[in-house]
Symmetry: C2
Subunit: 431 residues, 2 copies
């Protein structure tokens, strides 16, 4: 015998990385959205269930799996970077969004990497670029899940002043000059941008700023490259106005901007098909890290999405999705106009796309998980929102605590109206 | 203007983690298997295409997607830890493999975590337990991809002497005593075991050793827990002899052993549905890390596999799969008996299950990627194998270089016979 199993158990020691990843809000919020149907959720980042393409996916799966050879191919391991067939279709789709030809893009197929939603791509980029203590510059506010991804590798996020045209180039340039003067420039590895309809603010980066930010990143890439990570998750959810070419297309060399896209918002999150377009200098590192993590994403799902694109079913579907969300955005905005009329100091952004409305209350009203507003809203009025303070980086000066993100993703127009009425009662209750 | 885009580009600096993950053999080997159909592959870890359950998956997908509500549910985001329905079915299936009732297992549903194949689960465990410089004790030889996973978080793998009954408890105990005497015990976080038909050796851990290794881990868990990670990937691919209960079932508290399982080998790798059963003390950390990486694996695929289990289609399928692989194992062994007859110093293991035959040549014959044998085999004879030296950990004393892993996963019996004839010609050529 080597010992007794009756010895009391020694404590578990997690890695530092596990500690960095702990306690983030996304799991809590997603669980709320899934598990509390009685609470009207303006918080959940789920997509509208009625937009989900059940019949389209059924037909595509039937095509792939009715053919024995194709079916076997789909059920076998694929490449770490994903099925070539889907990567080809994706590149053609990306070119169409840019209003260019595939040849004109100058992007090789092996720069396109398929992942489990775009979140895995964002996570892989964070892992291959950020060491503990490194800095990632972000808009203010920005996507709170990505802030958790940065924290999860032990790096820090630094807020750059942001307005309705997105991250301010002057503020970005000034921050980089400040870090350079402090001898800290070599800690900066990444600038993260949600270029269209930022989550949570709804702001889009203007065409001019897209070019300027690429210039600034290149200018301050002295001893080492400062990459830009462009998160285009909401690009295809535009309801008003004209689209801009991506930040990626402002990058003449193609070596500075990393582009992340997804089918989760415009098609189906349950397929977990996202992708990235990486500069040549990062492809190998991202694929090596992905090889460590899972050898590649679900091959069957890639074949299903490739079929949907090739059959020409995708674009018509996104048109229907856009019409639905546009109606819901308008319902939410109309309810806000009605229910919050006469409440001084309450303002909100009218977004041209995406899934979110960003609302500010008077500064004295705290919206956090521990606040009496959150308590009143979630427990008494039965309505959930995302506290705005989650959406600010580590180094943000005074973190605003009086804002909230309202999503029109899940609820139907009638429920949106009811949810806003409940929220207004909660706000009036604490004001 | 903030600068010029004509500035020469600064060099890219990867994170240390990216450097740790670089240059691993798995991507190279998988690509060989997929891209070189003219080269007979005894290397590829792909499964036999003829075993892939195309019709079964087609029917399951049809069931899930023919129902509008169920289809929408499957195409929506799920929980980070995966669909409850599949986790329930899995627990029942696991209980059946153990010959126990679900109640008797004492495992809560939230201890079951669904991942992108079991590789993601192994990677998550490595991430939440191993800091750079930490140690993971492994069999000698062991699964080379997991060695890459350990290296990918900056930790080191330490080889423990191994024989046909698996890792030697006495050697494990002696190594832990040695590390303790050197004041290094606090670096040891994990013992990794492939309990059935180890990849590459084909060895299974005897029932007695399963108990002993749990005792040893508990005995040396002084200031902190030493967890055991049991990789049961090949458990359901047994062709001879009686199954043993898992190492997990030797763990009275359920807090020391982490169990990893998969549907990739017994059903379909292209679905990327794997799972782990984690001790309570690790569930939250693993889910938090997974939340950072992808918010959860493909929900549709989980619903498909749950349907397959609930309809009772899974177990009959594995019976067919086993019969096919058994025939192929026998074909490979018969070809080895025939083709290597009279070659002194060439030996191989006759495995009771799994997908691999482990072969040793005389010590003077190098089998590595750079060796003349590998060159002759892959270029002249057109046959691929996995060099044995890949399968030894970082701290392995003198790393043996005269072995090879032969897989009977992909090729049919006739091609296996031809591949062995080619390999024997290559070996005779260098001897």
């Amino acid at each position: 015998m080597f010992g007794s199993t009756e010895t009391p158990l020694a404590p578990v020691r997690h890695s530092r990385r596990a500690d960095w990843a702990a306690g983030q809000a996304i799991s809590y919020l997603m669980r709320q959205g899934v598990e509390n149907p009685q609470c009207l959720s303006l918080a959940a980042g789920l997509v509208d269930a009625t937009t989900l393409p059940v019949e389209t996916v059924r037909r595509a799966a039937e095509i792939v799996l009715s053919d024995q050879a194709w079916g076997r191919h789909a059920l076998q391991y694929g490449h770490t970077s994903g099925a070539e067939r889907l990567r080809k279709s994706l590149l053609a789709h990306f070119a169409a969004l840019e209003g260019r030809s595939v040849d004109d893009l100058g992007i090789e197929l092996d720069q396109v990497i398929l992942t489990n939603g775009s979140q895995q791509f964002l996570s892989l980029v964070a892992q291959v670029l950020l060491d503990p203590g490194d800095l990632c510059l972000v808009a203010s506010p920005t996507y709170f899940v990505f802030l958790g991804t940065v924290a999860g590798v032990g790096a820090q996020s630094v807020c750059i002043e942001t307005d309705e045209s997105g991250m301010q180039p002057e503020a970005l340039d000034a921050k980089l000059a400040e870090l350079n003067a402090a001898g800290e420039l070599n800690r900066v590895k990444l600038i993260y941008l949600v270029s269209d309809f930022e989550n949570p603010s709804g702001y889009s980066l203007s065409a001019e700023r897209r070019r300027q930010i690429v210039e600034i990143a290149n200018k301050w890439s002295r001893e080492q490259r400062i990459h830009i990570l462009e998160d285009a998750a909401y690009r295809e959810l535009r309801y008003d106005g004209d689209p801009s070419p991506s930040v990626r297309s402002c990058d003449a060399t193609g070596e500075s901007v990393i582009y992340a896209g997804t089918f989760s918002k415009s098609f189906s999150p349950g397929l977990r098909v996202g992708f990235g377009i990486a500069p040549n200098g990062l492809v190998e590192a991202i694929c090596a890290r992905k090889g460590n993590e899972d050898f590649g994403s679900a091959h069957l799902n890639q074949q299903i999405v490739a079929t949907v694109l090739e059959e020409g079913w995708y674009v018509p579907h996104t048109n229907v999705v856009r019409m639905g969300y546009r109606t819901k955005r308008d319902a939410l905005l109309a309810a806000l106009d009605r229910e919050f009329a006469g409440l001084d100091g309450v303002t909100w952004v009218r977004p041209d796309g995406g899934l979110y409305v960003w609302m500010s209350l008077p500064e004295r009203i705290d919206t956090g998980f521990e606040s009496s507003l959150f308590e009143r809203a979630s427990k008494i009025e039965q309505v959930m929102y995302v506290p705005g303070e989650l959406c600010y980086g580590d180094e943000s000066g005074t973190r605003p605590r009086h804002q909230m993100r309202l999503s029109f993703g899940v609820l139907d127009p009638h429920s949106l109206s009811e949810a806003v009425a409940r929220l207004a009662r909660a706000v009036r209750g604490v004001m």
